[in-house]
Symmetry: C2
Subunit: 286 residues, 2 copies
């Protein structure tokens, strides 16, 4: 079974409705299915496989947990208090489809479900479960997880590097480290892989945001500028941002620790980096 199939199956198991209030259950599924590229859980599974993949059930649950937390953050970030976004992945956002009260609860429920899903996993490795969840919780919470990253948007002064590290890189780092931990591998050695890939992803996001606005309004000022958010394009210019993206992706690939799956994972990372760039820029950069 390929990585995506494993991830989707694990997510489907986590989101079995059972006796959950029906609208909450529907709204939770709306937030998770159909997914995007599932890049974080794929990174998580890839790290677990590279480390030997001796506990696939725990690896699958860990990967799904990472994705559930990512989806939770999207639901809350889309709400009127933040981006006030009406659409995501071509469909209504959760609060537009189900209302703000349920959107608020969907985020909360998905955060908890991420932990539940790993805790329910019938693995004999209790100590690994503890390590996995510690990594995951640090990647999401305070002081420097994605919730803290989002909170930097509420501060009068922002350190752009700390903001990007927390808002995006933290969950990528958590994905690679938790994947390794699920397979009993080393943890800290995997931090740089996810962290750099996460930074690359955020820079790619800033580039896409700026280019979309350029097409629409004739100048590279998009949602980031509209919301007064820091952006690599505003800091480095468009060409500087593209160069930074490539440097980060290469740096992520070379950071993969020595292990059986090192080459394969390096190739995946480079491939993802090319996919992250808008087509016009990717062609110019190769």
């Amino acid at each position: 079974m390929d990585a995506i199939a494993r991830i989707e199956r694990s997510l489907a198991e986590a989101l079995e409705p059972g006796t959950t209030p029906p609208l909450l259950s529907l709204a939770m599924r709306h937030a998770v299915f159909p997914g995007g590229a599932r890049i974080r859980p794929r990174l998580c599974l890839a790290a677990a496989e590279a480390c030997g993949g001796d506990d696939p059930a725990l690896a699958d649950a860990t990967a799904a947990a990472i994705e559930l937390l990512h989806c939770a953050s999207l639901v809350h970030d889309d709400m009127p208090a933040f981006d006030d976004a009406a659409m995501r992945r071509g469909r209504l956002t959760v609060h537009k489809a189900y209302g703000e009260p349920l959107a608020l609860l969907v985020g909360d429920a998905l955060i908890v479900l991420a932990f539940q899903h790993v805790l329910r996993c019938p693995t004999a490795h209790a100590e690994r479960v503890r390590t996995v969840l510690r990594i995951v919780s640090e990647a999401v919470g305070t002081p420097a997880g994605i919730v803290a990253g989002q909170a930097w948007e509420c501060e009068p002064r922002v350190d752009l590097s700390a903001y990007h590290r927390a808002k995006t890189a933290a969950l990528f780092a958590g994905a690679s480290m938790a994947g390794a931990a699920a397979a009993g591998g080393p943890v800290e050695a995997w931090r740089a892989v996810g962290e750099r890939l996460g930074e690359a992803y955020q820079v790619a996001d800033d580039i896409a945001d700026a280019l979309a606005a350029e097409e629409e309004f004739g100048k590279p000022v998009g949602q980031d500028a509209a919301h007064g958010r820091p952006s690599a394009v505003r800091e480095l210019g468009l060409q500087g941002a593209v160069a930074r993206l490539h440097a980060l992706a290469e740096s992520a690939a070379t950071a993969v620790p020595d292990c059986p799956g090192r080459e394969q994972l390096g190739a995946l990372i480079r491939q993802e980096a090319r996919r992250l760039l808008p087509k016009s820029l990717a062609a110019a950069a190769t």
Copy 2:
């Protein structure tokens, strides 16, 4: 050190600001300090003590986690999407003091912190950590934890009993069970203690809500009715609700499993039930 001191110390440790964004850190502390009666974490510690209390560090962390989750739910429930409450415990609610974006993030961060705090506990009992967190996550999430309870308010049809069980009783049940688990005690035997106390607490809340409205508006219609929420007073009448509260508290006290601390805990529960009733009713009922 008495129970309250242990709980406050553990909460203070959990909320050490570190490198958390400053406003988020302040808003999180606003949500947790000063506290209310801390009744859930006291129940949790009491269950751990009654079971032998052989791992006080884990018991303290578990009790604090229960309170952090309770505080998180209050922050989100107070927001405009739900109660739109301006005041709590005599102070501004978090969204009134720090704005909606930070209030949303405070709830998220406190949920994650509850797990982090237990995961950071330097206990040798990895299997107990797993059990404690499984109990805690079920008490908060889907299908029947407090988030699911809140979601019943968004459904067109509500089962009053399922609603109360999830919205309030679930976290009380989790408090008693997780406390027992932290001390290596039996888990299921403790469910009824918290569940009944939680139901009693919700009935007391309905009574207080109705009486406060009666004083103010001359009729027993308060926030519950204003928001179209189910209420024991609306279902059973005021006298019926008081009788139900007493029956539930007595039932909780007698449900305490056979253990060294059984008498003491029974006394605590009966004392709490009296404290929960408005003074006029408590005098009439004794």
